[in-house]
Amino acid sequence: MPTKVIIDCSTGIETVLELTDEEIAANVAAAAAQKEAEDAAAVVAAQAATDKASGNAKLKALGLTDAEIAALVG
């Protein structure tokens, strides 16, 4: 069972308690939510990279040089 350690800084006494079912459930939910947010951000980042590559290719097809594209899009 996961535990929490509480250090009383005024006395130096350490107390070890088992996490409650509610605390464990909250941990699991927080981790799942964070993982979901990360996965969503990765999808957005991948799409942005794909869009950038596609946009650059189209600009080059119009005859722009790499330097001109960089000047346009930064």
Binding site: P2, T3, C9, E14, N27, A31, A45
Partner: protein, 186 residues
């Protein structure tokens, strides 16, 4: 200005079941607080190349009590990470090395809390992190971070008397070390 630093309390993790470490009844006799921490996670699940150092102040888990931003000086990800902000129920930063793939790379953090005993203002602080994975794909995928700097705000105005640290997905690995220092100016 002369400055004196005093070790208030220290905790070194043993075993593999410690999920959360709380420093309570923090004496209100210093000007500032500083935590210096070195930590790893027990996680080997394959879902997390890193874990999040999760901080709660005064036991508060209320959503919107915390806001944070951070800068990463170097990462290999695209687009490059930049300042992020958002109200949330904790301060958290992806700085914990996990035990995935046999990694043994600890995260290191210096967490600063100036004027922690002020009872009439919101609290602001900074944290500096370091964690470099030894797994090549972590760098390729942008998970390797170099010298991140975080800023945080805790909006309640009461004095800070308690601070907790835990990983988001797993327990602290044995040997993880948490040291709390009080800083006095004169």
């Amino acid at each position: 200005m002369a400055e004196a630093t005093e070790l208030i309390a220290e905790q070194v993790v043993s075993g593999s079941s410690t999920n959360q470490i709380t420093f309570s009844s923090i004496p209100q006799t210093h000007d500032d607080l500083k935590f210096i921490m070195q930590y790893m996670s027990t996680d080997t699940s394959g879902s997390w190349e890193f874990d999040y150092l999760t901080t709660h102040i005064n036991g508060d888990t209320t959503n919107d009590y915390y806001q944070q931003g951070f800068m990463r000086i170097r990462s290999n990800n695209s687009p490059l990470p930049k300042m992020q902000t958002g109200f949330q129920s904790r301060i958290s930063y992806d700085s914990i090395g996990t035990s995935l793939n046999g990694q043994t790379n600890p995260g290191i953090c210096e967490f600063n809390i100036p004027r922690y005993s002020d009872s009439g203002r919101m609290k602001e602080g900074t944290a500096r992190f370091a964690w470099l994975s030894s797994t090549a794909s972590d760098w390729t995928n942008g998970y390797c971070l170099t010298a991140p700097i975080a800023f945080w705000v805790y909006t309640p105005t009461g004095a800070i008397t308690s601070i907790s640290f835990k990983g988001l997905a797993a327990n602290w690995k044995a040997g993880s070390k948490f040291s709390l220092y009080g800083i006095s100016n004169s």
